[in-house]
Every structure is written in structure tokens, then in C-alpha cells.
């Protein structure tokens, strides 16, 4: 039997990188301490906050909502609300929404669901099909990421949010780090800190990542131990992304060389620190307001409006152009 390094009970988790084994009780204590340390170290929240938790219905975001609701019981000035962006991915999102609704109901949390179909006129499946027909060079995850961030910020602001908490974990962060090294996108790397985004724009809601130092395996274990683990279902577009391959590669490295992931995170934090003075040069230009929608933008147009114009789903005045043919079924899954 593998025993807990602290009490000798049966272990549920072994961290080779730290050289310790944890029983259920000591794992949950370790998890709680680690997240609280991250929150404190990076000053993620003040005493009075309306925290909008971005929840997809996947295990990481369900775990984050569960964790923050528990933590908020110790902080009287915090209000927790949940926000789900429904992209409209057939065979995927409708399943994770059920897990989301079950948990918000159980926790008694106020929530909102924002849909691509309502806000943009089309589901992600339809947008991808329109993009294919127009031969636009974008990957499904690019549309999804841009529109999701756009709607998250907008809806969180409308909900009175002072801060958005996302469930990005250590694995997500180092995968993005590696992707951006490969793409030579240093302006994205300097924004990969635990508190991120463009500040100083009146329409921008600050984003924080309380699970920044939590391994994906740890967040999954937290979900399993708290009976939050949702029905396992994969996004049909996920396997088309570079992230999919990098994740496998990093996991193999971690298995062979325990501690690789922590080391990569330290590397990222160091490079962000080294680039701090040069940040203004790396991120070109000032923060502006999009001339169509008024949301934060680094150019004349924000990314979401640029995509919408290219797709032809919106006119120059910001009106949705409806009834575009998106194929016989309306929703085409990836080929």
C-alpha cells in the first residue's frame, strides 16, 4: 500500500516532483493551501469583490466554482456568480451545460448563460462552416477563443463583476507558453501571468487564474474527490489543435522527468519578469476602443469585430447579418 507521507493512511495522490504522497484529507489540505497561496501572492482579490467564475461545465471550472464558493464563506465581502458561454458545439456543450446547472443549483449560485447564437447570430459550428466556405485561414479554436473572451468580458461587466476568475491550470498555462514560443508571439507570453489582460480600459474586467500553480491532475482529483467530475466528453475540435500534441508531449516528459511542468512554469514567470521593462515595446500601441463595438482593442477594430466582418456575419455598423447558408444540417462537425 502506498501511504500518506503525513499520516500513514492510504494515499490517493503521489507527487513525484515533491517526493510526497497524500491521503484524501491531506491532499485536500495541500490543494487548499496551494490555491490560497497563489491568490495571496498575486493579490488576485480584495476584501470586497463580485467574482464572476467562468465555467464551461468541464472538471476544472466546476472545481474552481466549488472551491471559490467554499472559500467565499470565510470572506463576507465576496459575492460569487457563475457565467457560462455556450458556443453551440453540437454533441458537446449541451452535455457540459447539464453538469454546470446541477452544480450552480446545488451551491445556490446566481448564474448566466451567454450564447454565441444570441450574441453573434450563429453557433460556433455554423461560424466554422462559414469560415471554411470563405476559405478564411483560422482554426476552430481561434474563433472560439476570440469570441469566448469577448463575450466573457462583456457579460461579466453586465453582471456587475469586478473580477473574472478562470480555471486555467498550470498545464494550460505552460502549453500556451510553449505554443507561443513556437509562434514567436512574445506579446502573448508577457500576458500569461496569473493576473492578466489589458488594464486601464473602462470596459475591461480584470482576469485572474487561481489554479495557476495547480496541475491538471490535481484539479481533476479535487473534482473526483468532491463528486464533481462531470460526464467525460471531448470537444470535437480539440484534436485538431497544436495544444493537443503539446499536451501529450509535456505529459510524457513529466512522466520521464518529474518536475518538468513546475520548471516550465518557473521559466515562464522568469521570462515575464525579464521582459517587464520591455513590455511596452513588445505590446505595440496603446489600448483603444473598437470603433464598432467600443470594447477594448489593440487596433482600430477589436479581434471579435475583425472576425465578424471577415466572416460576413456583421455589417460595418455592428448589425448582425442573418440567414447565411451554413450547410444543409445547419451545424457541421469537423471533417
Amino acid at each position: 500500500m502506498v501511504s500518506c507521507s503525513f499520516c500513514g493512511r492510504k494515499a490517493v495522490y503521489v507527487s513525484k516532483a515533491l517526493g510526497r504522497a497524500y491521503c484524501k484529507k491531506h491532499f485536500l489540505e495541500y490543494f487548499d493551501k496551494k490555491v490560497r497561496r497563489t491568490i495571496r501572492k498575486h493579490r488576485m482579490f480584495s476584501e470586497k469583490e463580485t467574482i464572476i467564475v467562468a465555467v464551461s461545465g468541464g472538471k476544472d471550472s466546476l472545481a474552481l466554482l466549488h472551491y471559490l464558493v467554499r472559500l467565499s464563506k470565510r470572506v463576507p465581502g465576496w459575492t460569487i456568480k457563475a457565467l457560462l458561454v455556450d458556443e453551440g458545439i453540437r454533441g458537446y456543450r449541451e452535455i457540459t451545460i447539464k453538469d454546470f446547472l446541477r452544480l450552480v443549483d446545488e451551491l445556490g449560485v446566481e448564474y448566466r448563460i451567454v450564447r454565441f447564437k444570441d450574441e453573434l447570430g450563429y453557433t460556433l459550428d455554423e461560424i466554422i462552416e462559414i469560415g471554411r466556405r470563405k476559405k478564411l485561414p483560422y482554426h476552430p479554436c481561434s474563433y472560439c477563443g476570440v469570441f469566448r473572451r469577448y463575450l466573457l468580458n462583456k457579460a461579466a461587466r453586465e453582471m456587475g463583476g469586478t473580477v473574472i476568475a478562470t480555471a486555467h491550470n498550470l498545464d494550460d498555462v505552460i502549453q500556451t507558453y510553449l505554443m507561443n514560443i513556437i509562434k514567436n508571439s512574445w506579446e502573448k507570453i508577457v500576458r500569461l501571468g496569473p493576473v492578466s489582460g489589458i488594464t486601464g480600459h473602462p470596459r475591461f474586467v480584470r482576469k485572474v487564474k487561481p489554479f495557476y500553480e495547480i496541475l491538471e491532475k490535481e484539479s481533476a482529483l479535487y473534482a473526483v474527490l468532491n463528486n464533481l467530475y462531470p460526464k467525460f466528453v471531448e470537444c470535437p475540435y480539440a484534436q485538431q489543435s497544436m495544444r493537443w500534441y503539446l499536451r501529450k508531449y509535456i505529459n510524457n516528459l513529466e512522466e520521464m522527468y518529474p518536475g518538468t511542468k513546475y520548471s516550465m512554469l518557473r521559466s515562464l514567470l522568469r521570462i515575464i519578469q525579464l521582459l517587464e521593462d520591455k513590455t511596452n515595446k513588445i505590446i505595440e500601441g496603446e489600448i483603444r476602443s473598437c470603433r464598432i463595438c467600443g470594447e477594448p482593442a489593440s487596433h482600430d477594430l477589436c479581434r471579435a469585430c475583425t472576425y465578424r466582418l471577415e466572416l460576413g456575419i456583421m455589417d460595418e455598423k455592428g448589425n448582425i447579418i442573418r440567414n447565411i447558408d451554413t450547410g444543409a444540417s445547419g451545424n457541421q462537425l469537423p471533417r
Binding site: 490517493v12 484524501k24 468541464g58 472538471k59 476544472d60 458537446y92 505529459n251 512522466e255
Partner: protein, 69 residues
């Protein structure tokens, strides 16, 4: 030799694996070309570390760690 059943939750992926006496769960996963880093393991209904030894007739359920999207 011991025989164990391995199943990935919510999928139809299931295997019957023969392993040496004294083999650990991680050895069984290796035989299936699965990386222990990518799964939470439950043995006969109880969450365990992947360094636990397997026994005859064990049912191993794997919870994928990688998020869906």
C-alpha cells in the same frame, strides 16, 4: 499472473489485462500505452495512487485528466 479489468469512464474503451504478480497500476497502464500522468485511478470503487499493486479480478476505472476542450 493476475487479471484485471481496465475501463475509461464514460467511453466504451475497456480491456482485460494480464499482469505479473506484484505489478502496479502504472505497469498495467504502460502495457496499454496509457500515461499515468493523464488519469485519476479508482480501484474497485476507491481512488488510489497509481503506484498501488493490482490484485486478481481488480476493476480499474480511469478518469481522464485532460480536459475536453
Amino acid at each position: 499472473m493476475v487479471r484485471v479489468r481496465v475501463k475509461i469512464i464514460d467511453t466504451d474503451q475497456e480491456w482485460l489485462v494480464e499482469a505479473e504478480n506484484g505489478a502496479r497500476i502504472r505497469d498495467v497502464l504502460e502495457k496499454l500505452d496509457l500515461n499515468p500522468e493523464e488519469y485519476i485511478v479508482s480501484r474497485n470503487g476507491e481512488v488510489v495512487a497509481e503506484d498501488e499493486e493490482v490484485g486478481e479480478g481488480d476493476l480499474i476505472i480511469l478518469y481522464p485528466v485532460v480536459s475536453g476542450g
